[in-house]
Structures are given as C-alpha cells and as structure tokens.
Amino acid sequence: MTSFAGWQMPLRYASETAEHQAVRHVAGLFDLSHMGEIAVTGPGAGAALDYALTGYLSAVPTGRARDTMICAADGGVLDDLVMYRQGEQEFLVIANAANTETVYRELADRAAGHDAVVTDATSDYALIAVQGPAAAGILGPLAGPDLGAMKYYAGAFGDVAGRTAWVARTGYTGEDGFEVFCRPEDASHIWEAVAAAGAAAGLVPAGLAARDTLRLEAGMPLYGNELGPDMTPFEAGLGRVVKFDKPGDFVGREALAARASEGPRQRLAGLTLRSRRIPRHGYPVLADGQACGAVTSGAPSPTLGVPIAMAYLEAGTDLEHSVLAVDIRGDAAPADVTDLPFYRRRQ
C-alpha cells in the first residue's frame, strides 16, 4: 500500500510485472476511486466547459468521451482530463486525484455567468477499471449496456452485477477496456463479481505500479511527470486537444495560440536504453555528452524487455546525428530515440 494524493492505494497486489503482463494478455482489475469526478450540469454547461477547457466539449455527442485539458491563462496545464457527456445538459469531468480541488475551483470560477452548476462529486463515485483484451468478454455478461457494441471513447448508463453504474470504454493502459463509475457502497460488490467472473480467464487485480508502466509503454502522459503548469499541451505533443476553431473565447487561448505559432521550446521524446539500469524521473539526458533534457518517466518495459523512458529534450537537439545517453547516477547509459508510443495494441 502507498499514500497517494491523500488516498491509501495498492502499489501492487503481488508482482507488478505479472500484473502488467496480465493486462497486456488477458485483463487487470483496477480500483481508481481516487480519481476526481466533477459534474457540470445545466443549460449552459456545454458553453461553460468550452470556455473553461481547451476542447470543444459542447459539440461532443451525448454518450461520448473526450480527452481534454484545463490550462491557466498563461497556457500552462493545470490538469489533463477525461470528459464524459452523459446527457444533453450533463457532463462529468474526471480529474487527477491531486488536482481535483484545483480543477473544481477553476471550473466553478470559470462557469460563473453561464447557466451551469459545478459539483465536486468525487465522494459520490467509486471507479473500477477492467483493462485488457479479455475485458469485454469478462465484463460484458455482467453489464447492462451492450459492451461489445460500445464504441471506444463511448459511455452509457446501465448496471453492472445488478448495481447502477456509468460504464465507459476508456482507460489508461493502451489496451481495450472499460471504466465503471458506481456508487461507493456498490463498489465491493461489483469488484467481487468482476473478479469472480474473470478469475478463470486470468483476470488479476492490478495496482498503481502496473498502471504506471502500462501507460508509459502506451506513451500516455502523467500529470506531474510529462505535464505541469510550466508547460503547454504543445510541448507534450498533445496540441490536438486545443481547439482554436471553437466559437468564443477560452481560458489560455491567447497564450496557447502564441505558443502554437512559435513552436514548442522542448519536445517529448521516447527513449529506449541498452543498459539494464533504469532511467528515472529527473535524470539528465545527454547529446554528445552535453545535457539536452531530462527524463520525465522511466521504467523497465515488461513488453519490450528493456528500460524505456519519456524525456523532454531541447527543441534544437539534433536527434539524427547526436549520440544520446541518460546520466544514470553518474554513468552515461546509451539511449536510442524511439517513436511514441512504445507499444500499440493490435486493433
């Protein structure tokens, strides 16, 4: 167990490597109840989100999800979010646990003047994720919505193991999978039912450590590592979440437009190491022996069998002709630039 943003969370249930492999090959069961849920409802909810966030959320159809971000006026990322449109006037915004309070306060401020109500509903929800190629086969027979027919980044109200839930085909592992938002009092019942239904297939509970290596292989950014208030979505290669063509102003538009036109000052790169030692957050990256950036996330990749990392490199770094290395506690470990993501599932 570990303390995480005020929650007691399992870092691992047994072996994080085995949990990782189970998600890649069968499925894993995650308790993500620490994530923040913020409800934005009312006739002006869509317009309020268009103003508050980088995305064009009022244009998202009911029953669909979007990755989006909330930025400060200077373009810095305050959090990366998933938004579910649950109805014509009902939106549910999912925030990282450590940022939930900030996101809630910013949304409440930014919704002022719109006909919308912003509620921190985090304590109304538990979140259980089933992730992996067998997820639909395991969860489907227990779930009210037809999961086989559900599109990626879609969601629906229904029931799971007889309990009311919002079920969405989303996740943070690079695999197919589902996230079940249920009442806290129903969470252990749903967990037990899903665990029992999947046990024979090889479903295992998976902790935070496996979640981190899964998202790293999938090239997904983690707030606090690849994302933070000192960078814009463009540095992270996620400029696509900024919708300049939406109607009306939004917080950060001017700064983000300037950043988009001048190009990023650093770029997020994938690195594969030839050493056995692990590049970790903050370790310097060297180009021909000179510091050119720093590792943001690093881990042994269970899928590739070698250490991998994401790192911010200065925009001017000549990746074609430089010899790259990560400074691992004083030793230069040779590294190769690798296209992100490191792992992409077969469609």
Binding site: S15, E16, T213, R277, I278, P300, R329
Partner: protein
Amino acid sequence: MSIPAELHYTPEHEWVSIEGTTASVGITEFAAQQLGDVVYVSLPTPGTSVTAGEPCGEVESVKSVSDLYSPVDGEVTEVNTELEDDPSLVNAEPYTAGWMFRVRVAQDGNGDAALPPDLLSAAEYEELTKSAG
C-alpha cells in the same frame, strides 16, 4: 513473512549467514516485498574490500533504486552471477537462490569471524520490520 532464526540482520534489511569466516549476504524478504519486482542488481567486484555500513552495490526495482550495504568488513570472494540473468530470484527466494555476495571476514582472537557488534538477531529484526511496516 519469513525471517530465518539462524541468520543475522541489519537495519538496512540485509541478512548475513556465517560459515567459518565466510559471510553470505542478501536482502530480506521484507526488503524484497517493499521494493517490488527487482529488475537489476549491481554487486561489488570479487577481490574488492567492503566496509560494514558502507554502500557496495545497488538494487533496482520497477519503482525504485536502493543502495546495497555491506553488513561486514572483509574481502568479496564471490558474487551471485545468476542474478544477472534473473534478478527476480531476489523476490522469489531471497534467502537462498537470491543471495548476493560472499565476504571473507577477518578473524577474531578465537579464530571466529569478527562480526560488527550491531548485527541484529532474527527477533530483533522482526521487531524492526513491525515498526517499519
């Protein structure tokens, strides 16, 4: 959790097994569980001297890297090369196949291994893990 009674322990979660003047060293099951899956172990070179309480290697797990401390003074005679190919032995069998290195320890006046006075017994180490866990 296993804490074999016949071994000595350190507050840094190493175990020591003494046979004559040879000390075998590894990390405890408690340490291995706290670290999670071990993915790389850097061990001292045979022939080098190690000093009790000083770092002499590293243990990398998925989530962290930790110094490996020598529990005794002496000269490294042998390291567990199996760990190069399979560092997960540290998790699977921390007290047997997951051993890390052996040290020839200086003799005291009686011809026994001269051990640091602050090594812990199994009971003392168990107390320590209870307060740490």
